[in-house]
Structures are given as C-alpha cells and as structure tokens.
C-alpha cells in the first residue's frame, strides 16, 4: 500500500480553515442583513420600542456587528455556539438534540438510494437498449421530476393511510420504532437521489463494459458475470461516489422539506424556525454545522476514491 498517496489527509484540514472562516462570515452577515429583528419576534406584536431595545441589549444585539462577530468566533473556538434567543438555551444543546434524526435520515436515504441505484443501473447497463433499460431510464427521469413534498404526501396516503404499513409521520421512541418511522421519509429522499445516481452509474457502466480492460478480461476467458463484478462495477462506482458527495449539500437542503412533511425533529426544522424567528445564533451555528458536514463528506469521498482507484493522486 502506497501511503504516500494519502498525504493529502494531513494537509486537507488546514485547507478547510479558510473555507469555514468564509462560511462563518457569510452566514453571520447574511442573516443580519435581511429585515427583521429577533427581539421583536420574541416580544410579539404587542411590544413597545423600549421593550425591544431592552431585549436587544440583553442578547448583545445592540453591539456593532463586527464586535458581535468577534464574540461569535471567540466563543466558537472555545466550543460555545451562544444562546438561542427563542429557546433561551445553549445552541450547542439544541443542535445536539436535533443531530441524530437528521443524520439517520440522510444515512438511511443514502443507503436506500444505493440499494435502489446499483441494481437498477446494473440491469439497465447490461440490457442496454432493451425494455428493462428503457423502463428504468423512464422511471429515473420521472423520479427527478416529482417535487419531494408532493411525493411524500402521496406515499403517506398510499402506505400509511390506505395500507397502514408505516406511521404517517413522527420520529418514534425506540430505535426499532425510529427505523419504522423513518422508512417512508428515507424512501422519499432515496427515490430522487437514486434517480440521479442510476443515470450516472448506468452511463459509466456502459463505458466500462466497452472498455479495453473489460474486453481483455473477456479474452482471458472470464465469465461475463465475473467481468462485471471484478472489472466494471468497481470502476463505475467511483464517479458515483463523487456525485453522491457533491449532492450532500442538496441532500441536506432536501431534508428541510422532508423533516417538515414527516414531522422529524431534526436540524432542518431547527434551521427553518431559526430563520423565521431571526434566531441569529441558531441560524449561523446550524449553517456552520451543515457546511462542516458537506466539507467532511467530500473529504471522505476523496479518501474513498484514492482507496478504490490506484491511479488517483490528490
């Protein structure tokens, strides 16, 4: 094993620092630029300007914006994300409570999407131009076209209300219960995600099936099945992994809608409410967590690519 190729693992975290710094400034400033005032939201319609000023001072919102930023970064380095204005409790605790549902949702969706995409792409690629191929391509195009919230409601009506197979919505109390609750939401996300992956995977499989090394393998007398498993699939999967990593941002954005439709108490819902109530601390912290997650997933995808494909140098 050539460890030299994994050098980038050490250098990468240092490269990430400026990225996170940039993201922190952008989210910090953007959320404050939009009209609206957290103190006013907190006080409700029946508030006086004096009360608003008092609450603003209490949360340090009357300080200059650059000073607020300095405090934010200083606290962040010390592992403190500040206090939510709406919930009046540490943002770190709020995020901690919401992390697991979102992680489970994304993980479940990715696993289901791969479980759907790999077999479908394999069938389509090996039966190129035949009925199965056309059907799979048609379905995956359709899968991209359905808006997720509509698809979610349709799935609920069919599988939960009509056939009573899954709960309509919610998160559940035990782990088994949670898997049962998350099945439909994961399936909803997986349908759209697998559509993207299937199309991509099918194309790379077709290219690999026609490649010189596949032909050479066949010439060595390997069965078509062995050629597919040993020579086609591993090579075709690499672009799909990177596609998945690139799509993680989309996936995180997508969970916001899915969490709302299926009432999953995750980070997406926390972010949406944070934005509507101008809970600055929550918005900027959740955005930072999402940004870090995206960066980490892309980093892991790079490691995986290097591990699978000996030609890649990063």
């Amino acid at each position: 094993m050539n460890l030299h190729r994994y050098r980038f693992i050490l250098a990468r975290p240092l490269q990430l620092l400026p990225v996170l710094f940039g993201i922190s400034i952008i989210t910090f400033v953007l959320v404050r630029l939009i009209p609206g005032d957290p103190a006013r939201v907190l006080l409700g319609a029946k508030s006086t300007p004096e009360a608003v000023a008092r609450i603003r001072a209490q949360f340090g919102l009357d300080e200059p914006i650059w000073l607020q930023y300095v405090y934010f970064v200083k606290n962040l380095v010390l592992g403190d994300m500040g206090k939510s204005i709406l919930y009046k409790m540490p943002v770190l605790q709020l995020i901690g409570e919401r992390l697991a549902p979102t992680l489970l949702l994304i993980l479940g969706s990715v696993i289901l999407a791969l479980a759907l995409a790999i077999p479908l792409a394999s069938i389509a690629a090996t039966r190129r131009g035949r009925l199965a191929d056309h059907t799979i391509r048609l379905i995956s195009t359709a899968g991209l076209g359905f808006p997720p919230f509509w698809l979610a409601i349709m799935l609920i009506i069919v599988f939960s209300v009509k056939f009573d197979l899954f709960p309509v919505a919610g998160y559940g109390d035990t782990w088994g219960d949670r898997l049962h609750h998350l099945a439909l939401p994961c399936f909803t996300v997986a349908l759209a995600l697998s559509a993207v992956i299937t199309r991509n995977l099918r194309a790379s499989m077709i290219a690999e099936l026609a490649s010189d090394h596949a032909t050479a393998a066949r010439a060595r007398g390997l069965s078509e099945r062995r050629v597919f498993w040993r020579h086609v699939l591993p090579n075709a999967v690499i672009p799909a992994i990177n596609l998945l990593a690139v799509n993680i941002g989309w996936l995180i954005g997508g969970t916001v809608v899915i969490e709302s439709v299926f009432s999953i108490p995750g980070m997406g819902q926390l972010l949406v409410r944070g934005i509507f109530t101008r809970d600055y601390m929550v918005v900027q912290s959740v955005a930072m967590v999402f940004a870090c997650a995206t960066v980490i997933v892309n980093f892991l995808a790079d490691v995986l690519t290097v591990a699978i494909d000996p030609r890649v140098e990063l």
């Binding site: 006013r40 029946k46 009046k88 049962h180 099945r225 709302s260």
Partner: protein, 505 residues
C-alpha cells in the same frame, strides 16, 4: 445474473429494515394533540407565543381565570378578592391548593410571581405589570396588591398565562434556568418530558385542587408542522386531535365519520393596515373610499371558505364591549370612486405587502387588488417573509398590509391602547391620529364603572370606524379536529384549551 441476486438481497434487507419497527401503544386516556409548532420555553414570563401559552394553561394555574365564554373572570388560585373604594388596593384570598410536588401554594408565591413578571430583566411582559406598586403576603393565605393608579384592566391581566403562579422556594432553589424545560406548577397537568421539536408529555397532576374534574391520565402535544400531514395523522388515528385545521380542509373533514370538526369562537380579527404616513392615505375620505371599495363578504368567503364573519369593529364579536351596531360600510365601488374624485385623488397607486407562504393572505391580497382596481386604485403586491413584512410595517415602508390580532386578555384596553391609544408604536403601525380618541382610551383605562366604560368603548369604536383607522376584514373561529371518541374538547375565545374537561372514551 449478479444483478438479480443483488437485487433480491437488497429487497430482503430493506424489508427487514422496515419491519423491525414496533409501534408503541399509548395509554388509553392519554390525549395526543397535533400542533404546527413546538413550544419555546416553560418560563411563563419569557415568551409571548400562543404555542407556549396554550400549554401553560394546562400546567400552571393563575390567580384569576377566564371562563369558557371568554368574557368573564372567575376564581383561580384566588378564591375571592376585594377592591378598595379608590381602586388602588386589591386583597386576594388564596385557595388552599398545592403545587404538583405536594408543597402548598401560598400568598408569598403569588407575590413573588407578580413581582417577578414586573421586575425580572428577562420578562417580556414587564410593561403590562408596571402598574403594580407592591405585591405582599399579609399571611399565608392573604395577598395584597397595591397599584400606582386605578386600572380597570388589572384584574383581567392576572388571568394572562404570563402571570402564572410559581413556587418561590422552588425557583430560588433550582434557579431560573430550571423553569425553561422542567417547571413546577399547580395546574391540571404536570410536565413529564419535553422532547424539543417533537413533543411535550404531560400527566395528570394528582395534587390539582380540581383533580376530580380531570378525566385524562395525560396529554401529549405533538409537533406536526405540515398542515396536510397533521390532518392525515388524525384521519389515520395516530392523533386524537389536531389544531389549526386549514379552512380549505374543513368541509372535507366534516364528512369523515370518524372525525368531529370544532369551530369555536375566537377573538381573531383580520384587518387591512393603512399607513397614514402616506399623505394621501392620511385623508379620511380616501380611507373611507378604500373601505367602501372592498366587498368584505367576498373576501371573507374566499379567505375562510365561508366559515368566518365580516368584521365591523376592531373589538371582536362576542368580546367585552364589542359594538354590535358599529357601522358596516356597504360595498359601493362607484361611491368610492366619487369620494376619491371629490378628495382630488386620481391615479392612486399603493404598495401592498403580503407574507410569502401564507396562502390565505396571498389570495385575499389578489382579491383586494381586483376590487380596488374597480374603484380606480392600482395595487402593487410585494411578497416578503413574515419577519421582514413586520419590520417594514414598523418602519412605515408600506401602504397596505394584512395583519391579524388575537386577544390574550378579556379587557379591551390592551388592544385599544396599541391600536388607537397613540402609544409609542404609531398606533399599531398605521400612524393614525385623533386626539379625542387618545383621551378616551386613557380615560377608559381608569374608569371603574363598567357602564360608563362600555359607553366609552362604543364611542371609540364608532369614531375609529368613521375615520377608517384601518379596514376591519373578518372574524374567524378556531378550527380544531378530534376523533369521534373524544368529548369535551373546547377552546375558549382567548385560546385556552379546557383539557381538564376533555375525555377519551
């Protein structure tokens, strides 16, 4: 074929994954209610949100309660009370009741809670209780409150959820922050668990002084933000009840044999704000013309699918001192045109800000745009998110905007002060000015004779309508749905759910 084998393996594992789920059977008399949003805190003085208040009424008790009609006060923790002739001293007799941990509720606790809402730096309600000069316990059962000046609305303000009575000893020992998510109260239920973003779990308080009245073993307030999902959960029997039924779904749900739709009278009043910082809109005839140009019946039918009523006053129908005979300007687009022409106004173009994502508001705005066009007024609709629109209204960067108000106190003083009292908020963003109304509002606040007060509020409503301080649009009911086996589910006009009377059969 490898793919076939792989496919079957995947199918099997997916199936296994999906079937391991077990569904929990909830105890029989635990009522599950779906609501749009989760609460934000259990500290009564640190929130102004209805989502919090509606649960506070289950967990805490107040000195004075509002009855089911939402127009009368009745004894709560205070068994009885006396008001001195000068209206400055209130003496309350505290009931012999207990907090859910078994400790006694005393006059000291009541004095502590009232002082706290007035003085605590985190209190969002301090302004409403500044009228309190002192709150002292004469003995364990006697609370004496003195005021800085006579205040007719004072007693009613004690029924607000913010003024819930807390245990002084408990708060002092556990600290302020403990109230945030595991409070101690003396209401019908006590908090067992709050899974933020998911649900609030309550159980019957065995020490509640009216415990024989409570039929449920517990209540779960479950957050289901999506309206469609929330309705589907009740239809599928996963929830016993859901609140905030969209108007568009009422007729359909009423046909479901398993469900009962409750349309309980509310104090919600939707209105059209008119920014009178705009010089044209500062002219009374122009505002009268806008009122005449609107077919309010068509608006209420569109917005509420016929479940609301045209509003004739800023004081909601059924609420204290509502003027039944207030003017309802007839729909008359031609008359409106003439009025505008007489006032020398032509080519009037107005900016109308609307909350994005609020379907009802968007439809109403389009209807208003069409109707005003018939009177020759051009309306430009701008959609902005709710927090932004509010800020724009406060900054005076609008001409027209839809807004609504729900009362959280039975006395009309709070709303009247905000809307017409010329207080610091530019008369609720309208910049309406009338010194006579200003004086009347201040006088009505200190008038202790109910008859005289009523006459004052009728006069205020009459002038406000005459001068079209804003345009009253419609009153609408609370819309809730329960399964048929739920009885006694009721929300009073101030929004309080009487879950102590609810049963699951």
């Amino acid at each position: 074929m490898p793919s076939k084998k792989f496919l079957s393996m995947c199918a099997a594992s997916v199936f296994a994954l999906l079937t391991v789920g077990t569904s929990i059977a909830s105890a029989d008399s635990v009522l599950t209610i779906g609501r749009r949003e989760d609460g934000t805190t259990f500290d009564p003085i640190k929130t102004t949100q209805n989502v919090d208040f509606w649960v506070f009424s289950n967990v805490f008790d107040v000195l004075v309660r509002v009855d089911k009609t939402g127009t009368k006060l009745e004894p709560g923790i205070a068994e009885s009370w006396q008001i001195s002739d000068d209206g400055l001293t209130y003496t309350f007799k505290i009931r012999d009741e207990k907090f859910s941990d078994g400790s006694a509720v005393t006059a000291k606790d009541a004095a502590f809670s009232l002082t706290r809402i007035r003085d605590n730096p985190g209190s969002l309600w301090a302004d409403s209780y500044k009228v309190i000069k002192t709150a002292e316990a004469k003995d364990g059962r006697t609370l004496v409150v003195t005021l800085n000046q006579p205040a007719a609305p004072f007693l009613a303000s004690l029924a607000m959820p913010g003024a819930s009575i807390l245990s002084e000893k408990w708060v002092t020992e556990k600290g302020e922050d403990a109230l945030t998510d595991h409070p101690l109260g003396s209401g019908a239920f006590e908090l067992v668990e709050w899974k933020r973003g998911e649900k609030v779990v309550l159980k019957k308080n065995p020490n509640f002084w009216e415990k024989d009245r409570v039929k449920l073993d517990g209540v779960e307030w479950i957050s289901v933000p999506d309206d469609n999902t929330r309705m589907l959960k009740v239809q599928a029997g996963e929830l016993d009840a859901a609140i905030f039924v969209p108007f568009s779904r009422i007729a359909e749900l009423q046909k479901d044999a398993n469900l009962e739709v409750h349309l309980d009278p509310s104090t919600r009043e939707d209105h059209l704000l008119i920014n009178q910082r705009n010089e044209t809109l500062a002219k009374i005839p122009v505002r009268q013309a806008l009122d005449m140009a609107l077919d309010k019946k068509a608006i209420v039918d569109t917005a509420t699918f016929g479940f609301g009523d045209v509003a004739n006053s800023y004081v909601p129908k059924g609420a204290l001192y509502h003027n039944d005979n207030n003017l309802l300007r007839p729909y008359d687009p031609e008359g409106a045109k003439k009025l505008l022409a007489d006032a020398g106004v032509s080519d009037l173009a107005l900016n109308f800000i609307v909350d994005t994502g609020d379907e009802v508001q968007e439809q109403t705005a389009i209807l208003i745009q069409e109707q005003l066009a018939k009177a020759g007024v051009t309306v430009n609709i701008a959609k902005v998110d709710p927090s932004s629109s509010w800020q724009m209204e406060i900054d005076g960067e609008y001409d027209l905007a839809i807004n609504y108000w729900t009362n959280d106190v039975i006395d009309p003083d709070q709303k009247t002060t905000f809307v017409l009292g010329h207080d610091a908020n530019n008369n609720y963003m309208t910049h309406y000015k009338n010194d006579k109304v200003k004086e009347l509002v201040a006088a009505a606040r200190v008038e202790m004779d109910p008859k005289k007060r009523e006459a004052m509020y009728i006069e205020i409503q009459t002038i406000a309508k005459e001068e079209a301080h804003w345009i009253d649009l419609y009153y609408s009911p609370y819309r809730n749905v329960t399964r048929k086996n739920i009885s006694g589910f009721y929300q009073n006009p101030l929004g309080r759910f009487f879950l102590e009377d609810t049963a699951k059969n």
